[in-house]
Subunit: 687 residues, 2 copies
């Protein structure tokens, strides 16, 4: 319900604006004035005609005309009435409430917050906050905090679930020269949360005017579906998104909960959501602002980079960081190497990193950059490391970098370490609209985490051979609790998931009949409310009718056993697929090698249902034990496509059966020809 007037109001009234710039109401007036807002600005402050040079009125009624946007810095209990009055008398439809004292302070405040939200909703208006630091757009600086960053229509759009954290993120952005297009802090998110801001960015996106960089700081994802939908859509429209979701570790989740008052989500669900959407996940402010800085430059088309440096050491450290993260710094050889070397002073190196030495000139730098841009098709981008020894200024080199950055077809990333001894040169460079990466390793890590974030997953749900009607019928008639093998088997079959040949028998003859049909050897497993391996309820490799008879009789004497499962003995490598329903997010699907690999090594990867084939394959390939799946030491391994297909089919099944709260296919056994479920456990809860 964000409307455009929030971003470009023709008039703003600060309700509670004052002379005291140590208070939010005073400081926000100052920031709007200092920011050069060109629309009509008013203050409502009874008893004053003028506040900081701005016309002040005692109430909405006194205002000279309509006002698009109101910023409220008055006590909480005054807010609902102020909203109603402005809406009625001055046609105001956008409200930023910076006042605190609402739901964050208890039940009474929560009631007030509901009243406020209802008041705005009934107008079809926009409400930001309450309990936020405000909004910055290219049109006005509507925050009461410092610092206010440089604004630029192509800069970052930034939404934050925490005002103080937003302020500190700006502190980290400023020295880098990072610019912003808009900043929205959502405070208590009474009406407008992170997800609604994403929705607005998506729906109002204009490829020629909108910024293509979106940053998010979020502590609690309330509407994962909405976030996924709009993040995916924005990225598909050409945007790049980076986000911090704090509360990753157990201790961090406890800290988030005590801070936001909301239950934290399992981090695996967050991780899976971000990967599905194609959001670059960051874990700190420095990292977020560095990734955002990378976003300000053109995207790398491939993974081959040339480093052009004036100092060996930083070149080596950067090579390590990039290479560690999967980017290439290909050795230059042959004609390219020789031609570049000829451009340089004696003692230089042209093997990549290209070391032009501390005595290398701006002109040499320019020539090398041009050569990499024009003559070397296999190179996807250049990173320049250029500092000052303190002997001379480096304006000429920085001017050269500036010129090349504007003219090169390939991205050029500047690392200018001399932030003290070449301070004025760096400042001049930033003033031209560039961003500096003072530390090569920090840039290297940011580049690789951008590189390693997948594109958004496709949205098609795989349906081939999946019988939704049958799935719904089975789930709807199932009782709550862990399901018997028959139910599990029928559900898996309805999803087209192959299970080992098996049958359930409640009589000895029935068991024999099944064994005859599927062929010996068979395994026999008890069915009933017992833990089958604890009661001796599993016998493998039964090769004869006599043995089957004996085992059947023994098992039926075990207390609680009401039938047996007769399964064909299956050979193959042990695999595992599981899923857990995560409230709001849906099912997080896990896969891995079975047995000790998942139990002892914890080697599994995860994704958010429903999954595409690409996602399933990427899950399989990100396993540490992937080489074993591929087959090593002369073993044949497992058919990756079949494994991926089962993961995809299970994820579709779960999407249509959210009543399944937990499912474990463990083990599946497989080789190059088949993969079949041998044992499965499924919990259904319909409430």
């Amino acid at each position: 319900m964000i409307n455009k007037t929030l971003f470009s109001p023709s008039g703003i009234v600060v309700v509670g604006g004052s002379e005291n710039i140590s208070k939010p109401g005073g400081k926000i007036v100052k920031n709007i004035v200092d920011g050069g807002y060109t629309g009509n600005l008013f203050v409502i402050n009874p008893g004053r005609d003028m506040v900081q040079g701005v016309a002040s009125f005692s109430s909405a009624k006194e205002l000279p005309g309509d006002v698009d946007l109101a910023i409220l810095a008055i006590t909480a209990h005054q807010c609902p009435a102020a909203v109603r009055e402005l809406a009625e008398l001055r046609n105001t439809r956008a409200f930023i409430v910076i006042s605190a004292g609402f739901s964050e302070e208890g039940e009474e405040g929560a009631l007030l917050e509901n009243e406020l939200r209802d008041a705005v909703n009934s107008l079809g208006g926009t409400l930001i906050g309450p309990n936020c630091i405000g909004v910055i757009t290219p049109v006005y600086n509507g925050v009461f905090t410092s610092p206010v960053p440089r604004l630029n229509p192509a800069g970052c759009d930034f939404v934050s679930g925490s005002g103080a954290t937003a302020v500190f993120i700006l502190e980290s952005a400023l020295p880098k020269g990072l610019t912003f297009s808009s900043i929205i802090t959502v405070g208590n998110s009474a009406q407008t949360g992170i997800e609604e801001v994403l929705e607005y960015w998506d729906e109002s996106f204009d490829v020629s005017t909108s910024s293509k960089i979106k940053l998010i700081y979020v502590e609690n994802i309330q509407k994962p579906d909405k976030l996924l939908k709009h993040a995916t859509s924005l990225i598909n429209k050409g945007c790049r998104i980076a986000a911090i979701k704090s509360g990753v570790t157990d201790a961090g989740q406890r800290a988030t909960s005590s801070h936001t008052g909301a239950m934290a989500s399992a981090d695996s669900a967050v991780e899976a959501l971000f990967r599905k959407a194609g959001i670059v996940r960051c874990f700190g402010r420095e990292e977020l602002t560095t990734v955002a800085s990378v976003f300000m430059y053109n995207e790398l088309r491939g993974k081959n980079l040339v480093i052009i440096t004036q100092a060996g050491g930083p070149g080596v450290m950067l090579t390590d960081a990039l290479s560690d993260g999967g980017l290439n710094i290909p050795a230059l050889e042959g004609a390219d190497h020789d031609r570049i070397l000829k451009m340089l002073n004696p003692g230089s190196s042209a093997s990549n990193p290209i070391d032009i030495l501390a005595t290398g000139t701006a002109e040499q730098l320019g020539k090398v950059i041009d050569y990499c841009d024009n003559e070397m098709d296999e190179v996807d981008g250049m990173i320049i490391i250029f500092g000052s020894t303190g002997l001379t200024t480096v304006y000429d080199a920085f001017d050269m970098i500036h010129e090349k950055m504007q003219n090169c077809r390939k991205p050029v990333f500047p690392i200018l370490p001399s932030i003290s001894s070449a301070r004025s040169e760096v400042e001049e460079f930033l003033a031209k609209g560039h961003i500096n990466f003072p530390d090569e390793v920090v840039l290297g890590k940011a580049l690789t985490s951008v590189h390693n974030t997948p594109k958004p997953a496709g949205e098609n749900v795989y349906m081939e051979g999946i019988d939704i009607t049958e799935i719904r019928r089975i789930v709807e008639t199932a009782m709550d609790g862990f399901q018997e093998p028959g139910v599990v088997g029928r559900l898996l079959k309805a999803a087209g998931i192959p299970i080992v040949e098996e049958g359930v028998a409640a009589t000895r003859r029935g068991a024999l009949r099944i064994a005859r049909r599927i062929g010996y050897p068979v395994a026999l497993k008890v069915i009933g409310p017992v833990h089958k391996s604890d009661v001796g309820g599993v016998t493998l490799n039964i090769k004869t009718e006599a043995h089957l008879n004996a085992e059947y009789r023994r098992m039926r004497k075990i207390k609680g056993v009401n039938a047996v499962l007769v399964q064909k003995m299956q050979s193959g490598m042990e695999l595992f697929i599981g899923a857990k329903y995560e409230p709001r997010f849906g099912h997080v699907v896990l896969c891995g090698l079975g047995g000790i690999f998942v139990e002892a090594l914890g080697d599994h990867s995860h994704g958010l249902a429903p999954l595409t084939f690409d996602e399933a394959r990427s899950m399989i390939r990100s396993l540490k034990s992937y080489p074993i799946i591929q087959g090593i030491r002369g073993t044949e391994g497992v058919n990756e496509d079949l494994f991926a297909e089962i993961i995809v089919r299970l994820s579709t099944l779960l999407r249509y059966a959210t009543e399944i709260k937990e499912i474990d296919l463990n083990p599946l056994l497989g080789n190059q020809d088949y993969i079949r479920v041998v044992d499965a456990r499924m919990l259904i809860e319909k409430t």
Copy 2:
């Protein structure tokens, strides 16, 4: 051969000093003058009486008296004569040669460098460089570069193998407020390299006056033994050392080699060396200067930290970073929680992170810090996050933090994010000698990497039951190449390493005799210049004499087979221990679970021989598959002490037999009662 006059010369002469501060010879005079050097300062520059206000002479002969230290900024070929003249006429014994044009530029320069080194060596003097940026000590600023950092006797001692990298490391140190005690760049290390500087630091160490923080940037470790010895000794004397060794990845090693012209060492050897010495390894400049900043504060006694913050988000991100790295942010409960909560404004949280809110006062902050320092024994340190919203100044809060940092028994780490909007407050805080960590996650990672670096290993070599005389006898009589099982077996026995019962037979009767002695079942393996599994040369589980007869006959017909190995069949979990001789470093010893774990998952850990029991145990525990060694899923696992003992014994064996270039014990088989070597491969090369 560093002498004290290098650090506190009573007189300095700059040979080649000039008026031109765009050249090293001019800038170094300026830096010495600006740095307020109080000794006698002269210049040698023929044809000038005065240079930048400093008395200048045409030659050493004209100087008015003796001079301790000479800094040479003249052409390379003039340097040897200048050294000899100053030594003879002016008793100079310390030389810093910043001139380039030596070994880095080819053979002719290398000869000149040798001449220079020999000239200084023959005097018993000190030579720093050539081709370096100089030296900074509290007495003089002997570098030609900027920036010059704040000096402080308790600041960092820093040695760098690269001048330009040192300059850029200082750029990263400066904004943090990091101070230095001395800086030495070794250039071409003609006489004095990184290792000699460490030796000097160690041998001149004075617990009451020396700095306890040492930083190293190194691209090529020439003398690992020396580095290990002095780093260990310094740390045992109370120092803390952090180092960057660049060239970690394959691409990075290629980059180092092309930059330094020297063969890179295997990074596993470097990693093992640093862990053995107790050096905190860093991978970038930002990381190094952050770890150095952590070193400026008292060491954490334990791993429990309290975070006191004014903003929820950074507290959560910091909790994640610390917890991810193995530090604890214990939840506060009960009386402590309630007492702290009472000190704070409504809405605050006292559960750790303690969130005092943006409205929290300096006084509240002080009370909470005092409570954590005095009343909570289980807390080992505090981290304070305090920024500015831009409404008011934060001098009072920073003063409170300053006061508490001085008086608290436990370390207090300040995170002050508002480097822009509270710039002057932060500067005032730094001016009091403190260091600021502007980003909480960067600090969190530095704290955990310090926490996770082990103390230096003990230096005792384990000798019990190891027969060095026998080991030397066997090695000295062995031929070069891969060794036969008999030789390997005798060597392992001499080191007290248990091997499976076995014997070598060249006749059928001999084989039968061995089998009778050790008992059936046995395994039979061919011996000879063949790859035994390729030629069908291994038969397991032979239970009868008839079977043994038949297999023996079959195997002896295989071409190249000259004997057989009869081994008792052994059961147990597969383990693996290997080692490789790394030139200069010695043997890097690897261990892990055998089979697919080491082959497919690459799960191994490594250490540098000789190893202590503590090191061996730490290697075993750092395996990802450690839970399997401990025993899971009802398996008994493997006796960790026995495994550690074999690792230690092998490492002692290797220390006394450096001719062994490669050895693989693979597999060893073991359980809780025994571990025995089943197969071993050993390469001896004496050249």
